[in-house]
Symmetry: C2
Subunit: 224 residues, 2 copies
DNA sequence: GAATGTGAAGGTTTTCACAGCA
DNA sequence: TGCTGTGAAAACCTTCACATTC
């Protein structure tokens, strides 16, 4: 979570869906995949809640925003619910993704299997380093970031992942926006500006370490 | 954010501090570092809020949980507030961190400069691959994960980052807990179990991409 | 005048509790 | 009986509004 907690950026039909709910859907999806592999046919809100460390009511409420997927007395059909989650999240299809900045973090993300598993296909790489441009990284040729706008359009990219240094992130993002991209995932530690119709999410990997640090120093009690 | 939104796992003195507040402190810290470099002496809650896309009241309320750092009519002293944030978050010191799983993601994390910048020193690496064990990765010798418990104690490690495959993550974490570690950051896509007195945070990098996917598919309105 | 610090109000999310159905 | 689906209540977080201070 890395953004504002109360940004109910979602609406499904008439209802407004909270960010927390959407994030929990991601978690349900992943857990349902595991349950499916374990061979389970159905799962109750109680079971699912236990795995996720949530309350059963929370699980039922989350799902109820999108429909009635369960059977009273029985629970939810695992495989079907998994497909429902995928459909709601929009990961029942392939997404054409480009990654900008094939450095330390960037090159790891290219090989990150969870992305591919959920339909996020990184099909284009960009960098500004002449030594990298033209070379092949895990089967993808690295393109020159100077042609970013043109190449993003040409490759019909739908989402962009930014993994460049903070100092240049805003320039890059401006070009990305110019190319008509409406969804950006940013790993650079910077507060970036985008127009209102562009979705920008920030991934800050230090944040959770800092949370742990805070917890240790202040000797916090865990919830539960 | 990847966990439960309402887990007020914090208490500072008597008050309970929400997860959201702690995450915002991380953001304030980072922004204050930038402001300091820009040469600013003071900053108002209004300015800080603008950079973070929050309300001024939110900023003041967050800070007020921990003390009175500002001057009425003037604002907050940048450098001092930065130090205050660091102190509250516990990042005004060095943390002895070990990383387990020097694979795709793991090796990128070793070189992630934001960690070092905030006092998280990765000083020990572990893997189970015989070809990696004993070799040197960015100045650190990779140790055998079979001696995990012993070596974590010996190196007086305080935090552990887990970047192993989901299938083995629980076994690893059990050993980590046995070694007395109380803070764990997990990158494996799995729901792991730890005792109540151990802080476990999960980093799920697909989550934000899924959020973007959801936003695009459902054509959501952005907040603000 | 300008901006903090903070109770109170307002809004959102979570949990409760129970009707309804297999 | 067992479990879902859901209004209502409770809990929580954010914003308002203003007294207070420099």
């Amino acid at each position: 979570m890395n953004s504002n907690t109360y940004s109910t950026v979602g609406s499904f039909g008439k209802k407004r869906i909270s960010e927390s709910t959407i994030h929990r859907l991601s978690r349900y999806y992943r857990t349902l995949s595991v349950l499916e592999k374990e061979g389970l046919q159905t799962v109750s809100s109680k079971d699912l809640a236990k795995r996720e460390k949530l309350t059963p009511a929370q699980v039922r409420k989350d799902l109820s925003f999108f429909g009635s997927f369960g059977t009273r007395g029985l629970g939810y059909p695992v495989t079907e619910l998994k497909h429902q989650m995928a459909s709601i999240l929009g990961i029942d299809r392939l997404w054409r993704v480009a990654l900008i900045g094939v450095g330390n973090i960037g090159s790891a993300l290219v090989g990150y299997k969870e992305f591919a598993r959920q339909g996020f296909n990184i099909i284009k790489l960009f960098d500004n380093d002449q030594r990298k441009i033209g070379s092949n990284h895990k089967g993808i040729t690295i393109s020159d970031v100077r042609n970013l706008e043109r190449d993003l359009k040409e490759a019909r990219i739908e989402m962009v992942i930014i993994a460049v240094p903070a100092t240049v992130a805003q320039y890059i993002i401006d070009d990305v926006v110019k190319a008509g991209i409406k969804a950006i995932l940013n790993f650079a530690p910077a507060n970036l500006k985008v127009p209102n119709d562009v979705f920008l999410r920030n991934e800050n990997m230090s944040m959770e370490l800092e949370y742990l640090s805070f917890a240790l120093v202040n000797n916090h009690a865990q919830k539960k």
